[in-house]
């Protein structure tokens, strides 16, 4: 057969051809450009428009950035150094970075305290964020709130120690009683903690100067530190409150349900700024006469209420998304309500709600800038007040706003990236 074929055809190749490279238009950068940038005419126009936009942005930004002056006395010195060329005056940041980060009144020789508190915040949040880390680190997480308070506000270490001891006593009592019933453990634990704090109050009163750091008043907190304090404290406080509100809203008990509904809808219906007005001008009327609470404490109360209403709605979504069968399965195992919630429902519902909770947390952290409106000196407040109104730096805008925006961007973007990573880690469904 092969002979006849060889004779009937003029030419038969007998050896395999070597592999040829693909045609130049179908490979490498050309192919990529064609597929992704110049697929058709409208696409090509879009690409050109985008290129022009990027060029316009960079053409303005790069010379401004590279000509920047990093050290100068004031804005006139800066302009003298620039000598007519367009350039940034980042000297304002190298000059005033401490105000931007720590506020105007925090004692300068104590800056190591907020810095240490900031580093410890990461260390103590790490075991919560990454479940692969050794569980022993959770001890640091437990003591961090007290340690952080002591570092930032100063005073004797006995007060936070007593607070910690109260929590530990409460937890021990809870552990002992919870085998009987959850309610007993819960309320017993709280009662025990209060007793411990009451007793501890006498010790604190006696031990005024034990291991005391220089005390810093609340009104001296400021700058980005204040945003961080408000963000962390309010988010951590609002999580448990939000869970309770969400459970209350799902509850069969009419009165409790309506209390929760009214609270959540009221808080969600008004802007945060009105709640901050309440904190600054109204709330004082509702405290017992003669007591004078810190503005920062009043603001923390209002922001916590605000964020717990939003977190409650997110968690309610998670509770509703859970299949009915999970609730029924818990009932059929004979678990009572607290057991069913703690062991079956909440772990799953919270997992579903993580993206939403992180969104609320990021939104809340951004909203902490609103306290500048009620004349607290957070990052935005410092920028608008002491920096813009100073004689040295009046007229510097973009550098400071860029710095402020960058700080927020770094924090918020990394939180949202973390949340996406966590979602992938927790995905147990098979796709």
């Amino acid at each position: 057969m092969s002979d006849t074929h060889a004779h009937s055809a003029a030419f038969v190749r007998t050896e395999t051809l070597p592999e040829m490279p693909p045609p130049p238009g179908e490979t490498g950068i050309v192919k990529w450009l064609r597929a992704n940038l110049f697929a058709n005419v409208p696409n090509a126009i879009l690409t050109l428009v985008s290129l022009w936009a990027i060029y316009a942005l960079l053409a303005g930004f790069i010379p401004w950035f590279t000509n920047a002056v990093w050290s100068a006395e004031d804005i006139r010195d800066c302009q003298a150094q620039l000598d007519g060329t367009r350039g940034a005056c980042f000297a304002v940041i190298s000059e005033r970075w401490h105000q931007l980060l720590f506020g105007i009144a925090y004692p300068q020789d104590q800056y190591w305290r907020p810095i240490l508190a900031f580093i410890l915040l990461f260390l103590s949040a790490a075991p919560l964020l990454f479940s692969k880390l050794p569980r022993n680190l959770l001890v640091l997480t437990l003591i961090y709130p007290f340690l952080g308070y002591w570092l930032l506000w100063g005073g004797t270490i006995v007060a936070p120690l007593v607070a910690l001891a109260g929590v530990l006593v409460g937890f021990a009592v809870y552990q002992r009683l919870v085998t009987g019933s959850f309610a007993m453990g819960f309320f017993g634990g709280i009662a025990a903690a209060f007793v411990a704090w009451w007793i501890g109050g006498f010790i604190t009163g006696a031990a005024e100067g034990v291991l005391a750091l220089e005390p810093v008043a609340s009104r001296d907190m400021g700058g980005f530190m204040l945003n961080m304090i408000l963000g962390t404290v309010c988010v951590s406080l609002s999580l448990p409150i939000g869970i309770m509100l969400a459970l209350g809203r799902q509850s069969d008990m009419i009165i409790i349900k309506w209390i929760c509904v009214v609270f959540i809808e009221f808080i969600r219906g008004v802007p945060l700024i009105t709640l901050l007005f309440v904190a600054s001008v109204v709330l004082a009327y509702f405290f017992p006469p003669g007591t004078n609470q810190d503005l920062i404490l009043r603001v923390i109360i209002m922001i916590t209420m605000f964020s717990s209403a939003y977190i409650a709605e997110v968690i309610r979504g998670g509770l509703a998304a859970l299949p009915r069968g999970q609730y029924e399965a818990a009932d059929s195992l004979g678990l009572d309500y607290p057991q069913a919630m703690r062991l079956i429902v909440l772990p799953q519902a919270l997992k579903i709600s993580i993206p939403g909770i992180v969104n609320v947390a990021v939104g809340l952290f951004k909203d902490t800038t609103l306290v500048s409106v009620i004349s607290m000196f957070d990052l935005v407040g410092v920028v608008r007040g002491p920096i813009f109104s100073s004689t040295e730096w009046a007229g510097v805008y973009w550098e400071v706003w860029g710095f402020a925006a960058l700080l927020f961007f770094i924090v918020c973007y990394s939180i949202s990236q973390y949340s996406q990573w966590l979602e992938r880690q927790l995905a147990t469904d098979h796709r």
Binding site: A35, N36, L37, A39, N43, L46, T47, S50, L51, A53, I54, D252, M253, I254, I255, I256, I259, E265, F266, R268, G269, V270, P271, L272, I273, T274, F277, V278, V281, V282, A284, Y285, F286, F287, P288, P289, V362, K366, D367, T369, L370, S372, V373, V380, R384, Y397, W398, W401, A404, A405, F408, F409, C412, Y413, S416
Partner: protein, 403 residues
């Protein structure tokens, strides 16, 4: 057996309030209510005592007093001799104005950015991703203040003067200055109402034509063109009436006179800053909602539509969009709510919205903190409850009819 059936019904014991699940919820609710009432009473008593100590009372009479301050941008007549109530109404209207404008532009911006982020064009998709991330991760207050600074860098009115001015008016009619933007104002001449009526009638006509075409399509399968007849019905009759009536609607163009522009409508700088900032900021969020909505429609739907022989644009309008809108609209409406609430940041750029008038100057002048903040909250609460009512109606109307 009989012993069991004759067993007496256990009488009520006090311990059942705690251990019997039938009564326990009642106990809890009673305790919760008692705690709540006690808490409220405690707060109320504190309030009364604090007010008495400060020599104050709760009264809304201050609303009738003369406000005594000026507001730069008002939709209704207002002078500094008007009452605080009038100032509050000016504030309400200003809030609604910036919220409305912000919703419109944010939607347009968000839909564009959301669709472009899904585009096959790599560069455009990345640019839109950068826009969305940059605006979502920086506080809106900072954006408002940044854009508030940007608008101060617009040229002064004097830059438009002279033979060879430094700045040109946009299209010869719009002046962008650091005192605000001047746009032409419509002048309603005699007979202009007839033109407006004609336009409203032609909108009705267009709707009726579209209904008729849809009905014809469903009844007989005959496909009438939709796009250009609608446009013709909308435009042609109004234009005809406009010219027949002798062009009753004119435009009053802004012109430079002395140190400032005269004529036209002046849109003040704070309004522009707030409007732009809210639109761009919320546009980033809406872009994410739009993207999520389009991605939520499974690819099988598009493929099924193509398998039925629908062309790509019909696939989009008949199959993908209706399903995507079901996902997009609820978060979109809550973004509108967010714009309304975020417009309260107007106080940072000096725009006289309700928070700046009632919650700002009025509060500071009269010292009526509780009343002013209460009224302020009430206003926002009414707005947001109204918007959520609309949302509930919509959700009901598009909910999947499940059996």
């Amino acid at each position: 057996m009989s012993a069991i059936s004759e067993e007496a019904v256990p009488s009520f014991r006090l311990s059942m309030l705690v251990y019997d699940t039938r009564y326990r919820s009642l106990t809890f609710q009673f305790i919760a209510l008692a705690v709540l009432i006690a808490f409220m009473a405690f707060m109320g008593m504190n309030l009364v005592r604090n007010l008495a100590a400060a020599g104050l009372n709760i009264s809304y009479n201050f609303l009738g007093d003369t406000a005594g301050y000026d507001i730069n941008q008002t939709l209704i007549d207002y002078t500094n001799q008007s009452t605080h109530q009038r100032a509050a109404i000016v504030g309400i209207l200003n809030t609604l104005l910036v919220a409305f404008l912000g919703c419109v532009t944010a939607t347009v911006l968000g839909v564009f950015a959301g669709i472009l982020r899904l585009s096959g064009n790599w560069l455009v998709a990345k640019l839109m991703a950068a826009y969305v991330e940059a605006f979502r991760n920086v506080p809106v207050l900072i954006w408002i203040l940044i854009i508030g600074t940007v608008v101060t860098t617009l040229p002064a009115p004097s830059a438009y003067r002279g033979e060879t001015p430094d700045s040109e008016m946009l299209f010869g009619v719009i002046a962008l200055t650091n005192r605000g933007i001047y746009i032409p104002a419509p002048v309603w001449g005699p007979g202009s109402m007839i033109v407006v009526a004609a336009f409203i009638l032609s909108i009705l006509g267009a709707i009726m034509y579209r209904r008729y075409a849809t009905k014809l399509l469903y009844d007989t399968g005959k496909l009438l063109p939709m796009g250009w007849p609608t446009l013709v019905i909308l435009i042609v009759p109004s234009l005809l009436v406009f010219f027949i009536m002798g062009r009753p609607i004119g435009l009053d163009y802004p012109a430079l006179q002395g140190f400032n522009f005269q004529g036209g409508i002046q849109v003040q700088r704070p309004l522009i800053a707030l409007w732009l900032a809210l639109s761009i900021y919320t546009g980033a969020f809406i872009a994410e909602n739009v993207r999520a909505g389009i991605l939520a429609v499974s690819k099988g739907q598009t493929e099924a539509a193509s398998a039925l022989g629908l062309r790509p644009n019909r696939t989009m309008s008949l199959v993908v969009l209706p399903q995507a809108l079901r996902v997009i609209i609820p978060p979109l409406i809550s973004q509108y709510l967010n714009i309304t609430k975020n417009s309260s940041l107007a106080i940072a750029v000096g725009y006289a919205d309700i928070t700046a008038t009632l919650g700002g100057i009025t509060l500071n002048q009269t010292g009526r903190a509780i009343e002013a903040v209460l009224l302020l909250m009430l206003f926002y609460l009414v707005i947001s409850l109204a918007i959520s009512a609309v949302m509930n109606v919509y959700n009901k109307s598009v909910a999947l009819k499940e059996r």
